[in-house]
Amino acid sequence: MKLGLVIDLDTCVGCHACAVACKQWNTSGTTGPLTDTDPYGAEPSGVWFNRIRHYEVDDYPNSKTVNVPMSCMHCEDAACVTVCPTGASYKREEDGIVLVDQSKCMGCNLCAWACPYGARELDTESGVMKKCTLCIDRIYDEALAPEDRQPACVLTCPTHARFFGDLDDPDSEVSTLVRERGGQSMMPELGYAPLNKYLPPRQKPPVPTVERRTIEGGAAGLVASWMQRQKKAFESLGAGRRGLSDEAAGEGGTGRAGATSVAAEGRSDAAGARVGAGTAGGTAGGTTGGGPGGVSS
């Protein structure tokens, strides 16, 4: 068994709820406390097992915000365990969870130096290294209902962007997701074989944008420009409908005419691209809405 997390970067909204749930559970759990220094002051700092960072991928107009939660990857070849001189860090044979035995740790920081993912944080108060336990005190707790035997971060995620399971079982939900969505490892070139996988954002056409134009000729010019926009919008109706696949056009009907639409999930990329192309040049409406069926989440 190789227990790990699969995180969907397409649906993660970067709300930090997973980090908060993690902190809450673990600070009062077997590895707690997750000491904070200056918690209500100007420079709050403390131990977190899970941190979320926010990135911009690619350049305008194709840029996309990607929220990346990171915790211990429970590497198959965990360097933190290899370098640990005291035997405090270990990887469990039965489920692959990497843990720190706090009664053995001498706080030399070498495991944190060896970890490329920033998964380990020294608790300066107790002088020992702390890290994600995959909520080992939840997932095997038979007093909990079976659906609750999951890490706190997974249970709390409001967009269901986090999945927990056995990555060794090819038919598990997590393995299936990794296979179907092209799940990736972070920094695989270091060779530590991280178990946690990240599902890349789905391919979507760029959201059309309307450029601001200066209008000449005062009120008359404004009216002329408005008329021109309406004309273009009217013309683009037909173009837009031709751009859609038969099925989508039938579904969308004339009621949606003119609205710029993001390709709905499930529609083929080609059709989606045509929708994008058909409306990008048009000026009709700045609204972006879901296509028929809406954007899946």
Partner: protein
């Protein structure tokens, strides 16, 4: 990486001690100091052990939970830090036995054998210390074979400067050892310059491979924490490039160029005063070099904090 003074002092000072003991083992058979007496060997050896001990004690200062330091012997099979601890402790009985035999029985087969074994073990300890850093794939500036080579050479460098000073202060001839010191200084300087060149080549992970977005530019929008974290304090050390270059120049001048000039006799026939100066300058220079070793090292966690590459 944050330059932690306890570790800098440890590696430099203990290195000087090990270097001194290595050269001391070759004092007679290598002809470095053919007329050194057994008493002088024992006293010089003890000086080396004092340096080693001061360093090792300092190394425990960077432990957050030193009461568990005794556990660091158990992961000998995988951890370089554990190996260092084991060999550093084994070094004491072996070196004391050698110095004791030398002191009690004088120069003989037993003392030569024990001396050579001590020298070999000293090299092993130095290599283990260096491998703690060199084995970390997360820090490309350390993850190079130049790291152990450099650390062993700098230990020999300081050891030779201290040994020269000891011999001169005892009125013993320093001819052969001075030649060895000049060779060590030159080779160590060369390796250091090669190292500076080698770490100037950008290789390894980038922000793209760190996040898995390898077909587009990636920029940090928000790092997600409001103030310093363990990672920013430990790995986020930053200093202006220009200032680092000046420190490089200072460390090369102090550790290599000035001791080389002093020992080679550019400022007059090297007497005790010259050699005191050479040892002090060399020590300060190697401290600066070790500080730079940390200051110039860039951990890959910085990629997640927005660095494009390390």
């Amino acid at each position: 990486m944050k330059p932690a003074f306890s570790v800098i002092f440890f590696t430099v000072t203990a290195g000087a001690g090990y270097g001194l003991l290595i050269l001391l083992a070759f004092a007679r058979i290598g002809g470095l100091a053919p007329r050194i007496s057994p008493d002088q060997v024992a006293a010089t050896g003890l000086l080396g052990l004092v340096l080693v001990t001061a360093g090792l004690l300092s190394s425990t200062l960077h432990l957050a939970n030193p009461k568990n330091a005794w556990r660091s012997f158990v992961r000998f099979r995988t951890s370089w830090l554990s190996r260092e601890a084991v060999f550093a402790v084994l070094f004491y009985p072996l070196s004391l036995l050698w110095l004791g035999v030398e002191w009690l029985h004088g120069h003989g087969v037993a003392s030569v054998t024990l001396g050579l074994a001590t020298a070999a073990l000293a090299v092993v300890v130095l290599v283990c210390t260096a491998m703690i850093y060199a084995s970390l794939k997360t820090i490309r500036q350390w993850n190079t074979p130049l790291t152990p080579v450099n650390m062993v050479l700098l230990a020999l460098l300081l050891g030779s400067l201290v040994f020269l000073l000891v011999l001169a202060s005892q009125g013993l001839p320093t001819g052969r050892l001075a030649t060895v010191a000049l060779v060590v200084l030159s080779v160590a300087a060369l390796v250091k310059v090669v190292y500076f060149h080698a770490i100037g080549q950008p290789v390894g992970p980038t922000i793209n491979t760190a996040l898995g977005f390898t077909r587009a530019t990636v920029r940090l929008l928000d790092v997600g924490h409001a103030s310093d974290t363990f990672h920013t304090r430990e790995f986020g050390f930053e200093m202006a490039r220009a200032r680092l270059i000046w420190i490089r120049i200072a460390s090369v001048a102090l550790a290599f160029v000035l001791p080389l000039a002093l020992v080679a006799g550019l400022f007059g026939t090297p007497g005790v005063a010259h050699l005191v100066l050479a040892a002090v300058l060399g020590y300060v220079g190697v401290l600066l070099e070790r500080w730079l070793f940390f200051a110039e090292a860039r951990h890959v966690v910085n990629l997640y904090h927005g660095s494009q590459r390390t």
